[in-house]
Subunit: 352 residues, 2 copies
């Protein structure tokens, strides 16, 4: 599998984006977020999305130039119209507004509507955490998940990210597994997927990838507690789209279908830690808490307890050093883009 | 099973609490929260806790008179010391502070430490929702849950409640099922519990209730995605105990063990809806969102999609009318309390 150093990959992404009319600063922001996801091993939210973004931009379904604007700002609450620009542009501004408001009021809450895919939520949670905040990021998404007891998709994979300054970072979809893992199984013509990943068109659990393709994703909690995952997904919709006045109840588009903007909504909550205790004290307490979790004897079959964010930090260290492995089918789409747009292919530092 | 009308049950609870030295207003608050849980069918958080509260009060492990105090108030953030009083006393004040701050700043965030069991989180989320807020309530709890990949309990069932004005109310533990359901199986000498509820002492899934008793609760997500439930439980600890300066990392006691205060921490976030849109518009949007969820065709084996809070509202209507069924073993503890404290037993309106 070709491996590309993160700097080379970043250079390539920026050149592709500017080649389709995105200005330098927006291209840099967008590329940073995608490459950061690859570095952390979250490849579903990395460079494999570049061809999709390019299609959205070239078709006019996403606006390369829109930077968004503040619709209202009332003390600690701010409503932002992303104006159908690239999601990363809105997200960066919304994070910074949330931190600004949090420093002024102790908390800041920003909702962006009319937005687009912003990469991995973790990138934005971490951006707020670096500023001494607990950063919480929520996002609604295209319909792939049936409400509990239902068989027809009504909600998205609706991620929840909670980030804090220190060794802990949670970023999770409210489904049992990310949609991408099921699509990968379908793309690989793997006939079966593990039980607990998806429901068939009748709303019953299935281990057939083709039945899953006609059905919906299993909410977090599965057959035992899927009402909880479904409830969390609904909470994300309420805190993003319902409260933000954005697209909801079937109005959200899909980044993979042309002729319609996506129109997702995203929420950003910053909690200023210094209102409760000095930041250094908080970090020490968080480290003690994480150490206590990790002191638990591992379950049979595991070497150690890993806490939220830890597997990704390990991957990041490895990939910063050795480069980011790019699967063959993704590499082909990048080569195709580079020839179409007259951009140099990124240098593959290793091919296994 | 004896059924008791909610007013009769409430009268009884208040008399028991005042008989052990709780003042009238605190007794009323505490009773209201417990009876409300029974009315909603959440019997694990209802009157069955009364004998435990009484034991805590009589032993001095919980302070009947403490009302708590504000430690610091900085714009939208407030830190509260519950001073080891009854959890409901702290929770009512913290909700009201959160709403007050939210009206002033658009958001209000209150953390109480040194607190005790406060009943069901839903009661407090709903209290804020009635004031035009999205109300979010989090609470840490005694160690019953192993971190993912671990075999030794390090966290509690750590509930998340999200309430909004309108027909939607989520209140869920971050475990697959509530601890109470497993204890009930053990108490009933049911040898087996469903797979996915618990882990044995080696951290492996078990369907044996006796093995589960020696092990830990399964985090939400089970074998497929238990890292997500475990991550949410950790997020609750961080937003309550780590940030609030409360008991953490093994310092939390248990309401069922004497000689040590419980010392849980609780967080209350209020988001003022009117900063984003008129409340009536929000309610209409929420109703449209819920109607859209409910419009999904039911999965095989179900009659309809039920959304968060809906089963409990149905139970509430029924129990307001017909009374609250009290299981035999709970009834016996209430009769015992009434004779010990010289309080009239509640009238049982029906015995089946």
């Amino acid at each position: 599998m070709p491996k590309i150093l993160s700097n080379d990959l970043d250079r390539f992404l920026r050149e592709v984006l500017t080649a389709v009319g995105v200005s330098e600063d927006i291209a840099e922001l967008t590329s940073s977020a995608l490459v950061a996801a690859n570095l952390r091993g979250v490849d579903s939210h990395g460079v494999r999305l570049l061809p999709v973004y390019v299609e959205q931009l070239q078709s006019g379904d996403m606006d390369a130039h829109a930077r968004g604007r503040i619709l209202s700002e009332k003390q600690a609450s701010l409503l932002f119209d992303a104006e159908n620009g690239i999601g990363q542009v809105a997200a960066a501004q919304c994070c910074d507004h949330a931190v600004r408001l949090s420093r002024a009021f102790g908390l800041g809450f920003v909702i962006a509507r009319n937005s687009n895919h912003f990469g991995a939520a973790a990138y934005w949670g971490a951006r707020m955490a670096k500023q001494g905040q607990v950063g919480i990021v929520l996002c609604n998404a295209s319909r792939l998940v049936a409400p509990w007891q239902g068989r027809e998709p009504r909600m998205g994979t609706n991620p929840i990210c909670i980030a804090a300054p220190g060794p802990w970072l949670l970023d999770m979809s409210t489904t049992a597994v990310a949609a991408n893992r099921i699509w990968a199984a379908i793309a690989a013509n793997a006939g079966s997927i593990p039980q607990g990943w998806a429901l068939d068109a009748a709303g019953a659990p299935t281990s057939s990838s083709s039945e899953a393709a006609k059905g919906s994703l299993m909410p977090l909690g599965g057959q035992t507690a899927g009402h909880k995952g479904s409830g969390l997904a609904a909470a994300v919709e309420i805190l993003c789209a319902v409260l933000g006045g954005g697209a909801m109840a079937g109005e959200v588009g899909s980044m993979r279908r042309r002729g319609h903007p996506v129109g997702v909504s995203q929420s950003f909550l910053a909690i200023d830690i210094e209102r409760f205790m000095p930041l250094l004290e908080f970090k020490a307490r968080l480290e003690r808490f994480v150490a206590d979790l990790k002191s638990a004897a591992p379950a049979d079959g595991f070497d150690a307890v890993l806490t939220a964010g830890e597997p990704e930090w390990r991957t990041e260290q490895e990939r910063l050093r050795a480069g980011i492995p790019i699967p063959g089918e993704v590499w082909q789409t990048l080569v195709k883009l580079s020839s179409e747009l007259g951009v140099h292919e990124p240098a593959a530092s290793e091919t296994v």
